[in-house]
Amino acid sequence: MDALLPSLLFYAFAGVILGSAAFTAFARDIVHAAFSLLFTFFGLACLYLYLGADFVGLSQVVIYVGGILVLLLFGVMFTGHQTQETEKRTVNFYWGLALIALLGAGMVPALLKAPWAVKSAAELPEAKSTISSIATLLMTDYLLPFEIASLLLLMALIGAVVIARGETKTDEGESPETSA
């Protein structure tokens, strides 16, 4: 009886994640799809917390829900919420289904039969907070990746600004070449 509640919790999270992800995949309206993604991300954050990865879970909420999702919604709004989208929503629909069926058939047996380097659920230790250990790791073993990530963010920022700024002005009176 002990394990029932955690199990139920897992199934609830998984149901939310997969259900909302499926809705994202099959919804007609892109705004609905974007909002349903909120539940996917949130569900994943809960699952991370459930797995004892508190820092990852919090990052997931802050960055995914608070950052990426907002960006995606901005994207949807800026590019016009095209209502005519409902007419021809998808391309390759059946090919897409065939693809995931094929891939699933190839992957499921491999995943389930694999000799993972894991313990069984029963012998798992109690989960502890990971925040301080991760902070230490980032400043020691993972110092270089940490610095590289900051460089990457800098570059992404500059790149995004340059790209989104577009060709608003030209230098020395040269007009930009336009071609189809």
Binding site: A117, L143, I148, E167
Partner: protein
């Protein structure tokens, strides 16, 4: 080696990082002034300094760096030099051309330098996290760079296709990496390999799945069929300098990763090269060999109907990825040597070709083969350099391309893969026709309009000659380069 001590092995990257900051400040402080263009020139000087600094690496012993996340060995040092050189040349191309708007050149240089750092790290990584991080660093920069052209429309289209295709590919690769992590519990290469080597025979299906998924990410970088679809579109739409950079440096990254990652994780050293790890039964070499045969054929056939030179060279790049894959599939040190030699040859050859396209298309406003008709009248030097580059791509003596092919086929025949050699040779015959079409247009046809007048700065001419001279030089005196390649083929496991 710890973080601080490792910095001695990290000088080229440090110089590049300092250059990034210098360019950034120069760009912010300098505003938009006429004439001299400090940010881009800083970038070029930084590349030269980093390239010179990378030579100090060869005298240092092979050792793990940064708590084992990176590694220093001749193989990594070679690729660092390779990427920095490419970056320098591309920066020079951007400086002498008008492709990238002047007020954007500073930002462009920041991004290409970051990409270069990412590439250097890929070649030196021996940790799954580092591989992913540095690959993303270079990929993200590449997506942005593809959108820098003044040609509005194709440039954005190229950029968007690139980011979507690349995003999916790296996503799939990441999934594969997560599976490897689950199999072994570690992220360093030797942890993964020892776990794979110690596993029972049941590991086979999942190992293959992980390998295939990682191969998707790598295959997209090197433009390997069937993951090559992005290449022609992106090459066509991106600025020519970026196309040149992608076709050489990005491909080089893919091969550095292919050799470093696959040979370190799925192989074990064996006599004269590598052999597949004991519990894994699949013939990885054969898979790559088959893909290489398909890749070169698809690339060469695809190049036939092209009328846009950049697109044609994109397909030609796919074909050359096929030739290079031949060298990887052998899993011998001779094969790795041949790949290194071929990459150097390809660097000079392809850069020359793209440089000519850049100079000519800026003057004539066209990238089509038809626009090159009668070029030798208007620009004999450019036409000659282009011919040289094309001869080298075909593999005709006495160009470096010939020697490159020679070594590749030599390595292939040494492993007695006769069918692969035959397909490779037939492909190089096949490729002759579409390269000859360009030569024919330049020399044997006349332009319907007035004679093409190509204006270029003396600086551009100088760079062109510096790029083209090695194509001829290594075609005759290739010994030093071979020795160098042999030295650089040493991987630290």
């Amino acid at each position: 080696m710890g973080n601080i001590e490792s910095l001695a092995y990290f000088i080229p990257e440090l110089i590049l990082t300092a250059t990034v900051l210098a360019v950034l400040f120069a760009d912010v402080l300098g505003g938009e002034r006429e004439g001299f263009d400090p940010p881009a020139n800083f970038a070029f000087v930084g590349c030269v300094a980093a390239f010179l600094a990378h030579f100090t690496l060869y005298s240092l012993p092979s050792t793990p760096l940064f708590n084992g996340i990176l590694i220093h060995d001749p193989f990594g040092a070679f690729f660092k030099g390779f990427f920095i050189f490419c970056t320098g040349v591309t920066t020079a191309m951007v400086i002498v051309s008008r492709e990238v708007a002047r007020f954007k050149k500073g930002e462009f240089c920041v991004i290409i330098l970051c990409v270069c750092i990412g590439m250097c790290l890929v070649a030196a990584s021996r940790d799954l996290l580092m591989i992913y991080l540095s690959l993303e660093l270079m990929s993200l920069g590449s997506y942005v760079m593809a959108g820098f052209s003044r040609k509005i429309g194709p440039s954005e289209e190229a950029s968007l296709k690139f980011v979507l295709y690349g995003g999916v590919s790296t996503g799939i690769m990441l999934f594969g990496i997560s599976l490897l992590y689950g199999l072994t519990g570690g992220t360093s290469f030797e942890a993964v390999r020892s776990a794979l080597a110690g596993a029972g025979s049941g590991i086979e299906p999942i190992a293959f799945l992980a390998l295939l998924m990682v191969l998707v990410g790598v295959g997209y970088k090197v433009a390997m069929v069937p993951f090559h679809f992005w290449a022609p579109d992106v090459y066509e739409g991106a600025p020519t300098a970026v196309t040149a950079f992608l076709s050489v440096a990005s491909k080089g990254t893919g091969f550095a990763l292919l050799i470093r990652f696959f040979f370190s994780v799925f192989m074990q050293p064996a006599e004269g090269g590598w052999a597949t790890l004991a519990p894994l039964h699949f013939d990885w070499g054969l898979t790559i060999a088959v893909l290489s045969a398909i890749t070169m054929t698809v690339g060469n056939i695809g190049a036939y109907p092209q009328t846009n030179l950049k697109r044609l060279l994109a397909y030609s790049g796919v074909a050359h990825a096929g030739y290079l894959l031949m060298g990887v599939s052998l899993m011998t040190s001779t094969g790795v040597e041949a790949v290194i030699f071929y990459l150097v040859m390809y660097l000079f050859t392809n850069m020359t070709a793209f440089f000519v396209i850049l100079v000519v298309s800026e003057s004539l406003g066209t990238e089509r083969i038809a626009g090159f008709r009668g070029l030798w009248r208007g620009a004999p030097v450019a036409a000659f350099m282009m011919t040289l580059a094309l001869f080298s791509l075909v593999g005709l003596p006495p160009t470096a391309g010939f020697v490159g092919k020679l070594y590749l086929f030599y390595a292939v025949l040494q492993q007695k893969l006769y069918w692969l050699a035959v397909i490779g040779v037939l492909n190089s015959v096949l490729s002759l026709y579409y390269y000859a079409r360009i030569i024919k247009a330049m020399y044997l046809e006349t332009s319907s309009e007035t004679e093409p007048a190509v204006h270029s700065s003396p600086l551009a001419g100088l760079i062109l000659i510096v790029m083209a001279a090695p194509v001829l030089y290594f075609g005759v005196f290739w010994n030093p380069l071979v020795e160098y390649a042999r030295y650089c083929a040493h991987l630290m496991q």
